[in-house]
């Protein structure tokens, strides 16, 4: 007689449950460790948030104090007075466009590589994936020349195309390994239900692949939002700078104005935090999907 796996499973008993004092000590040590790591990770961020609401003179007087008065006016001052608004919108335009195109093209490419057998499948996949090994420092000069030749130097469109090109291999890699795990029967069932390959991609694969797609969206957004090297080489005009360039310029001009630097950094961090809050659950699902059948 078959017995289901659930019936055979026995809940393991922690040895510490049989020795309460040892269990308390172990848990206390673990809490101390976790608290220490949390302070180490979140501390700088909280300090930055605190400084963003204090003036430079207040910070100079006491580096680590909490704000006695919340100087919210610093944010509009940074946005309008220091062109942070312009840099923010440039970054948003470039990164959002790049992430949308990366997600669409990357997902389609990953779907083709994962689900179709064609002659050059593995060769093409390897060619795309192997470009990851090239650091930006190797390709930047050639890219500069290519963009100049095509009239895309010092343009947000050119920067967007570069971002798409260098993030595509990672996107395809992450999505291809996820799509390859989707059972073939699902595709066969959809084919028998009368759906074309394109319809199967949009109506079956994308919804199922949402955890992996969320992972790539978050990773791409964070990487591109903070990207500095390509932007500093390929963008010349102040009006077209992205946020990392804007912060760098601001630091150069106003090196002593720690308060405004902190405020500017907070402006750049907030969208990433918001994105993570919305997508983090899917990110965890994407990372653990397939770990347990």
């Amino acid at each position: 007689m078959n017995v289901s796996a659930e019936a055979l499973y026995v809940e393991p008993t922690l040895r510490s449950a049989r020795r309460p004092l040892a269990g308390h000590i172990a848990r206390s040590l673990l809490l101390i460790l976790l608290a220490g790591y949390t302070a180490f990770s979140a501390g700088p961020f909280l300090w930055l948030a605190s400084m963003s609401l204090r003036t430079t003179s207040e910070i100079s007087a006491n580096h680590y104090a909490l704000p006695s008065i919340l100087h919210w006016e610093k944010f509009p001052a940074a946005w309008f007075g220091s062109s942070y608004g312009t840099y923010f919108l440039n970054s948003l335009e470039v990164v959002v466009a790049a992430v949308i195109v990366l997600t669409l093209i990357g997902a389609m490419a990953a779907f083709a590589f994962a689900r179709y057998r064609f002659r050059m499948n593995r060769v093409l996949y390897f060619v795309i994936f192997s470009t990851i090994i090239f650091p930006p420092q190797i390709t930047i000069i050639s890219l500069f020349q290519v963009l100049v030749d095509y009239g895309l130097f010092n343009s947000l469109v050119g920067l967007t195309l570069v971002y798409i090109a260098f993030q595509l291999p990672l996107t395809v890699y992450i999505l291809e390994s996820f799509f390859a795990r989707v059972p073939q029967d699902l595709f066969d069932a959809a084919r028998m239900d009368g759906y074309s390959d394109g319809a199967i991609f949009w109506r079956v694969m994308l919804p199922i692949g949402l955890p992996a797609i969320a992972t790539t969206v978050i990773l791409n957004f964070i990487l591109l939002w903070n990207e500095f090297l390509y932007a500093v080489v390929l963008i010349a005009d102040d009006a077209k700078r992205t946020l990392p360039l804007g912060i760098q310029k601001f630091m150069g001009d106003q090196l002593e104005d720690i308060g405004m630097i902190s405020t500017g950094m907070m402006i750049s961090v907030i969208p990433v935090v918001i994105l993570y809050v919305f997508f983090s659950e899917k990110l965890i699902q994407g990372m653990t999907a397939g770990a347990v059948k």
Partner: protein, 374 residues
């Protein structure tokens, strides 16, 4: 209902030395429940997928109702398939899973809803229409997969080992449901399985496959009683048929006996006369476990064999005895009464119903015809 015709169907994969399906010809009639049975890797699922249109056909012709289907896309064949893994769309609820195929056809929403509701009621799924697959049990998922096929009202239903992922008790109940469904719909169904119990209980005909080809096709009991070779004889039946090396020896006059190990069993006169031309020949002696009983209940003059009991397996409704006969290299399994008092290590005499025996050629493994009434 539809007629499905396969003529010399062959499937060869790129780089494959052997064909996955070799020269398969089969006719499935209107409303028939045809079971493709065989061990893993025999080509039964590949054959089914070629009928479905999910695999291309390397050679041969497939026709449904006389219309050639080679190269016709799966969606245009009017076939529905139930998969081993259920293949339910995890991001859709039961209602949407069942309606997915109908929506593609552009049917009015009201018509789709009605079809889904009726099918759900038929399968007892009405309370679960808003649930997603992960919130259903294995049996419920399988019924949703079934419902998704039924709602399309196809010409042919294909089943690819749909009960394999269920536990034993659920498999028994789902088998009964499928039989009832077939009777109710009178649909043409082609069912793939490696489970001979499913094949025997569900099929109007069984097609046994091995190594990409068809070995035997026929009604379940016909194949069970008259296997064409040792593979079919051993594959059907649980426990399988006893297959023992033996020799046909001629006795006085026209009497014939079967020599197995140290034992010599006289054949009944009618069998002896039929098999006389094969005297002196080595054979494989086949006898089903239920044709062997303890001698206490045997009729007089029956062929008796002295054996040593190796193991006793009480199953509740019956008992299996694993026996060793002197000189025989293989053990013999007998299905005896549940009240058997046999113990391991004992020496007992068993009765062999030689009227039900099968003889096979040791080289070709094919059956040696014995024309007799059972």
């Amino acid at each position: 209902m539809a007629v499905v015709t396969l003529r010399n169907i062959t499937k060869r994969y790129d780089g494959g030395a052997e064909a996955a399906v070799r020269d398969v010809s089969l006719d499935v009639g209107h409303g028939e429940f045809m079971v493709l049975l065989g061990p893993s890797g025999c080509g039964k699922s590949t054959a089914l997928r070629m009928i479905a249109g999910l695999e291309s056909i390397s050679a041969g012709t497939l026709a449904i109702d006389g219309v050639r289907m080679n190269g016709v896309p799966a969606k245009d064949r009017d076939i529905a398939m139930v998969f081993q893994s259920y293949a339910l769309y995890p991001h859709m609820n039961v209602r949407d899973n069942m309606a997915f195929g109908l929506r593609r056809r552009g049917l009015p929403r009201g018509e789709i809803d009605q079809a889904v509701s009726e099918t759900a009621a038929l399968l007892g799924l009405s309370p679960y229409l808003s649930r997603k697959p992960h919130a259903l049990s294995g049996g419920q998922r399988q019924r949703v997969a079934l419902g998704r096929a039924i709602v399309r009202k196809p010409k042919v239903f294909l089943f690819d080992e749909p009960l394999s992922n269920l536990d034993a008790a659920l498999r028994v109940s789902m088998r009964a449901e499928l039989i009832k469904l077939h009777q109710r719909l009178s649909a043409t169904m082609i069912y793939v399985t490696h489970d001979q119990v499913e094949a025997m209980t569900m099929g109007t005909r069984i097609c046994i496959m091995q190594a990409g080809g068809i070995v035997q096709t026929g009604a379940p009991l016909d194949i069970y009683r008259h296997p064409v070779n040792t593979f079919v004889a051993a594959f059907l039946g649980n426990p399988p048929m006893n297959l023992l090396p033996a020799r046909l020896d001629r006795g006085q006059g026209s009497t014939l006996s079967v020599t197995m190990g140290d034992a010599q069993l006289a054949l009944p006169p009618n069998l002896g006369n039929i098999l006389l031309p094969h005297a002196g020949r080595d054979v494989i002696f086949g006898l089903r476990p239920e044709e062997i009983c303890e001698s206490s209940g045997a009729p007089p003059g029956a062929a008796s064999l002295r054996t040593r009991v190796v193991a006793v397996e009480p199953l509740g409704a019956e008992t299996l005895l694993v026996l060793a006969a002197a000189g025989c290299t293989s053990e013999i399994v007998a299905r005896v009464s549940r009240d058997s008092m046999a113990r391991a290590g004992e020496t007992i005499d068993v009765h062999l119903n030689l009227a039900a025996m099968q003889l096979f050629d040791p080289q070709t493994t094919e059956v040696i015809p014995i024309q007799q009434e059972h």
